[in-house]
Amino acid sequence: MTRPDTSRPDTSLISRDPGLCARYQRDVSIVAGLPDAVLRPRDTLDVKQAIAACAGTNTAVLPVGGQTSTTGASVPVGGGLVLDMTAFELTSGDPEIDAETGHIRTGPGVTLATLRDLAARHGWDLPVDPTSAATCTIGGAVATNASGPSSFRHGAMAAWVDAVQLVDGRGRAHSLRRPQVPKVAMGPAALQDPVRWMVGSEGTLGVMTQITVRLRRRAEAVVGALVGFDTRDGLLAAVASLRRRRDLGLRALEWLDAGCCQLLVPHARGLRMPSGQGGALFLTVEGDRTLAPDQLQTLLERLPPHGGAAADAQLLLTSQQLQAFDVLRHHVPDELNQVGRRLANEAGGGKLSTDWSAPIAALPALFDWGDAAFADLGLVGLYRYGHIGDGHPHLNLMCPNAEVRDQALAQLRAQLVRVVAAGGVPVSEHGIGKLKRELVAPYLPPGARAAWLGLKAEFDPAGILAPGNLFAR
């Protein structure tokens, strides 16, 4: 065991300035909570000393990065000390890339976009691209097992983390590394990879101080297309058809329903937003520079039997066009969040959104059930968009007041029962944080909470790390 180093003062950088503390009271969710103090650690020693001091006084410690959580995971509800890890990179040096083997070693406070750019400059790809990539940190992305459109092909963050260094709730430093061999038989599979314990643990087991991610060779080209559909059922059938040709380099398969397409019309700049009832599919293909457009074309040819307007599909053939579309589609959550905040302030309503995913075959029935269940609630809007290729749509219910909100929430809970019964999961990418803890609890596999409590007993017996996140103690 490594004992906390107490050889230098540990409080000189801690600030209790009310103005500074107030800056950390919110993330992207509706959760709010004011910290008692803020520390911007310079290095691992600062983290160790701060945690050791907090363990002695039973003070809560919450590491935060870009505070882009949509579930309140990065909000210090109940006060305590916030560790702002965004300064950490400044004293730990720039991220280091091994351009030969395709690995980046970095501090936790570097934005995901910075690492993706660094990888790209050396011909590599870190294929995790959440909406918040420009502002979320790698520490936050690992802590929540972030994902994005490209996860359809390349998986979520967990697939790309090779090693982490962290300081646990006792102030001890650990260096955890994923087994580097394909065959491991050291007990139950879930216990064979310690890195997996930390990915998605939302700060409850330790404060990450260094992360090593592996990279994949960058595809020569990524091209995309936006295709309108007459009906939602046709679009879902097309998704099932496209999934059968993953061999053609299909990288992302995203959906914007008809309402979302309409939201984007004023911002579309040269792109014609489809107007069909089924909304639009956005797909990207990666591959060889000359072959990728042909692969895309082959995929598009599968769509007309399902009502996909393949001939009118608009092609995004350059990185500029893909970037422009990325910016464009982010208007959807931005606008919905804006309206949601207004509704919440006006009459206690707001936006309710889901993060479940289900098998593609189950989606038509789930959507039909939702249409009926939400029809008479008095919503001011219902929007669906998201990672349809993974069976992972985001449903957004715009509630004008608290009464409608409560009714909608009850229906969402009823829908979750059907999602899980169909083989789906209640939470797919935004983490659990504080907002979804109760929602998820009924669906946890047997022993999941006990297993986490076991890890908690080892890494944070006093329970000072990120209290309120993930599971109830």
Binding site: R121, A313, Q321, Q323
Partner: protein
């Protein structure tokens, strides 16, 4: 009416350029795109053609790969036909490109030539102006709005401190700025059609330009000098000392 528009291929600004070992040019294994200002020019030509029933022709100059960008960037968007002039891009400068375009104007007799105001690789911003001078045609550069009224083109230009509105008599040369329009995206049907649209291949001697030499040559390329790492200072006094004695900016 006939409109000639440029379709220049440029290196993708997002791509990492690698300089050849001898420093003479960039490694050719890099992603290219259609020059963004040429995309605005293409969109301008298409909108004018729709309003005035004009034929549209896209011109690209360079090696054989340029044809891909003429087809995908211009013909797939709706330009009627293309012309590819085969040339070594290392042996081209603004003057020679303007001469090539002049020869094509004399061959095709368009009423209007629309170019991107500059290419985002060399950023020279010269070809449109040189071409107008060589042709003896009026020019309106940095266009942010273009309308044809009778035998005149009414062009709004973005200039320092505001907008300037010009009326130039046809035939004329216009260069497009980014805010002129939002370029449309090619459709799959457009891509398919583009494969069948005529694309004429010419060489410099077809235009009586064989043996023409560029006036400007790239002598050497090199990477920008790397920035040295910053340092943290303990207090304002140390900062002032370093700014005075090391950076010498105070």
């Amino acid at each position: 009416m006939k409109i000639l528009v440029t379709a220049k291929r440029v290196t993708d600004p997002n791509a990492k350029l690698v300089i050849d070992d001898d420093g003479s040019w960039i490694d050719d294994d890099v992603e290219y795109i259609l020059n963004p200002f040429c995309e605005n020019a293409v969109e301008c030509a298409l909108q004018l053609a729709a309003d005035h029933d004009a034929e549209t022709i896209a011109v690209g100059i360079g090696d054989e790969e340029v044809q891909r960008y003429i087809r995908q960037g211009a013909l797939a968007r709706g330009i009627d036909r293309g012309i590819h002039v085969e040339a070594d891009e290392q042996e081209l400068d603004s003057d020679l490109i303007a001469k090539i375009l002049k020869a094509l104007v004399e061959k095709e007799s368009p009423d209007l030539v629309v170019l991107g105001k500059q290419a985002v690789d060399g950023d020279s911003n010269q070809v449109g102006q040189l071409l107008a001078e060589m042709l003896g045609w009026p020019q309106a550069t940095f266009a942010s709005d273009v309308k044809i009224e009778g035998d005149e083109v009414i062009v709004t230009r973005e200039v320092d401190g505001g907008l300037e509105k010009l009326a130039v008599t046809l035939p004329a040369v216009i260069t497009a700025d980014l805010r002129l329009n939002d370029p449309r995206y090619a459709s799959l049907a457009g891509i398919m059609k583009a494969k069948r649209k005529p694309l004429e291949e010419l060489e410099l001697d077809d235009l009586d330009l064989d043996g023409e030499e560029p006036k400007v040559r790239v002598v050497k390329l090199h990477e920008p000098t790397g920035r040295s790492a910053g340092v943290f200072v303990a207090d304002v006094d140390e900062l002032i000392l370093k700014l005075t004695t090391e950076a010498r900016v105070l």
